[in-house]
């Protein structure tokens, strides 16, 4: 077992799971990733192509972990296309984590897309700790729903629940995650809301939680080069997403002017969210 998270490990992809036509999970053996905390991420090296941050996905086998990739640009597509037996490099896990306070009994977990990756790890921990979790998975449409099986498996032997909603109503409940949350918080008292997904979705979730005085934690994404607090590319106001985050609480988020408004491009210029 490696004790230095910075040390690059070269691992073999042992299994690939196709989640949707554009989302794939790659399973590998790595002790450090296996014990990653929910919210932590790896820097994944696709040799001679890219290195990109990826949240650590849970895997049921001891000593194993995974990443779930949505194919997008050069790096993520190259990773998406890796096959069983291919080699990739890892360093990390880096970053802080979602905090499950001892007092929590009933939590709400809201995720969109691959944002569910760290949340499933969180949900699995919560269920093991006998915390009741309501997990909401939001997607635009049925084709984009994935992780349903694994989420059901996590929740099945607990009093937790798993809900799916789609914007177009093609699967699960019709509505956005924010509208789902709206109705859930009317009927339940949650100790904390946890969210990860598209930033504008998180902005809505955080806003609603704050208005209703519910503690909230969100895992954010920014462009990352180093992943360890050196290069500054992930800066979000005065915070570094890689080192101070990726998980921020409602109090921190309320002070971050850029949250849901703008991010920095590869050259460090600020770009507004559409």
């Amino acid at each position: 077992m490696h004790t230095n998270i910075d040390k690059r490990r070269i691992v073999r992809i042992e299994e690939t799971i196709s989640e949707t036509p554009t989302v794939k999970t790659l399973v590998f053996k790595d002790d450090l990733s296996y014990t990653a905390k929910p919210g932590q991420f790896l820097m994944i090296w696709i040799p001679r192509i890219e290195e990109i941050p990826m949240s650590v996905m849970i895997n049921s086998k001891d000593g194993y972990a995974a990443v779930t990739i949505r194919k997008s640009g050069i790096g993520s597509t190259a990773l998406f296309n890796r096959k069983k037996g291919d080699l990739i490099g890892l360093r990390g896990p880096y970053g802080n984590k979602f905090v499950l306070k001892k007092s929590y009994q009933n939590i709400l977990i809201i995720g969109g897309g691959t944002g569910l990756v760290p949340l499933l790890r969180l949900a699995s921990y919560a269920c093991k700790k006998k915390i009741k979790a309501t997990i909401v998975l939001g997607a635009r449409t049925k084709r984009e729903v994935f992780f349903e099986k694994i989420a059901r498996k996590i929740t099945e032997k607990s009093d937790s629940t798993f809900l799916v909603c789609t914007d177009d109503g093609s699967y699960g409940i019709k509505g956005t995650t924010v509208s789902m949350m709206s109705s859930l918080i009317r009927e339940n008292i949650f100790d904390c809301v946890f969210t990860c997904g598209p930033e504008l979705m998180m902005k809505g979730v955080v806003g609603l939680a704050t208005e209703n005085s519910i503690p909230v934690q969100a895992s954010l994404e920014r462009y990352m080069k180093c992943g360890i607090g050196i290069c500054g590319s992930c800066c979000l106001d005065s915070l570094l997403v890689c080192q101070d985050g990726t998980v921020f609480n409602g109090r921190q988020l309320s002070k971050i002017l850029d949250f849901g408004i703008s991010y920095r491009d590869k050259d460090g210029q600020k770009i507004n969210y559409a």
């Binding site: 040799p47 290195e51 490099g89 180093c226 607090g229 290069c231 500054g232 080192q243 050259d267 460090g268």
Partner: protein
């Protein structure tokens, strides 16, 4: 300067530049955001050098661009990614009190004069000219290896500003003291030494170079003894403030650089393991040191090793 200051005076003077303490942020480290600069200032930093800025925005190289090598050493080939002079002058436009030095990089005299004209309208302490980035062609080291180019660029910047200028030198293909001499003769006020050293790391399993650019710059612990040597040699042979840089990770390293001849010290890679609070911590420890040694001001130790 109040030498009776009960808090023990850590302030240092770099020619016309006054810093409340000798700790500075090295260029390229967290250096593109005014909010981060403010956070660092709250962490008691003495001065801040921004990321090297070019006329046009630069995306830099694909990742991997930064590799932790273990043992506190790092390899990077970021490719000078930066938002460019316009976006960056906007970023700093609200700056009032943060002691900022802008690092400049470029490939022609014209580029430097253009940037200086724009940045001179801001509240800044001065400039650092990066002539020593070891892994971007036609910028940095290739310029730094050509004394004639160095002379021209420094002269151009000098003609366009009255702000203090530091020239950042590295260990490359011409002698570091010679390079510093050329820079000072051309009008620079001080020298920053050193930048990273050209280096490389290859993965044994895949047999492939790790950095997308293959070759990058070595920083952190590994290069400290080289930085100390350069500061010692430059400060011994030339009359100008020297800013030490390379492998500083504790107050002891700051003191070692100052004893070697540095008037201030830049800190970079170590933030990868400590975060920004390192500045607060080191400043506190420097205060203890000054007190224990009974110094009136920390600058009393600058270059003291030259005596031996």
């Amino acid at each position: 300067m109040n030498t009776n200051d009960k808090n023990h005076n850590l302030s240092v003077e770099l020619g016309k530049i006054h810093l409340r303490n000798p700790t500075m942020l090295a260029s390229g480290i967290l250096g593109i955001s005014q909010s981060i600069f403010e956070r660092l200032y709250h962490e008691n930093i003495g001065g801040i050098v921004t990321k090297s800025i070019s006329v046009n925005p630069m995306k830099g190289y694909p990742n991997p661009t930064v590799i932790p090598l273990g043992g506190g050493s790092y390899l990077n080939a970021v490719g000078l990614s930066n938002p460019g002079v316009n976006a960056f002058s906007k970023e700093l436009s609200q700056n009032k009190t943060i002691p900022i030095i802008i690092s400049l990089v470029g490939s022609s005299e014209k580029e430097f004069s253009k940037m200086v004209k724009i940045f001179d309208t801001l509240n800044i302490l001065g400039y650092e000219i990066n002539l020593s980035c070891p892994h971007v062609s036609k910028m940095g080291m290739e310029v730094g290896d050509d004394p004639e180019a160095v002379n021209k660029i420094v002269k151009t910047v000098r003609m366009n500003t009255t702000n203090p200028i530091s020239v950042k030198v590295g260990v490359g293909s011409i002698d570091v003291v010679e390079l510093a001499r050329v820079a000072l003769d051309a009008g620079a006020n001080m020298i920053t030494a050193i930048n990273t050293l050209r280096a490389m790391s290859i993965d044994v399993e895949t047999m492939m170079p790790i950095l997308s650019n293959r070759i990058g710059g070595l920083s952190g612990n590994a290069i400290k003894p080289i930085g100390i040597r350069c500061v010692y040699e430059i400060s011994k042979k030339l009359e100008a403030p020297v800013i030490g840089c390379g492998g500083v990770s504790s107050w002891k390293d700051v003191i070692e650089y100052m004893i070697a001849g540095a008037s201030a010290v830049q800190i970079g890679s170590v933030l990868g393991s400590t975060g920004p609070r390192i500045f607060n911590q080191i400043t506190k420890e420097l205060k203890n040191y000054v007190e224990k040694k009974g110094l009136r001001n920390i600058s009393e130790i600058i270059g003291i090793a030259h005596k031996y």
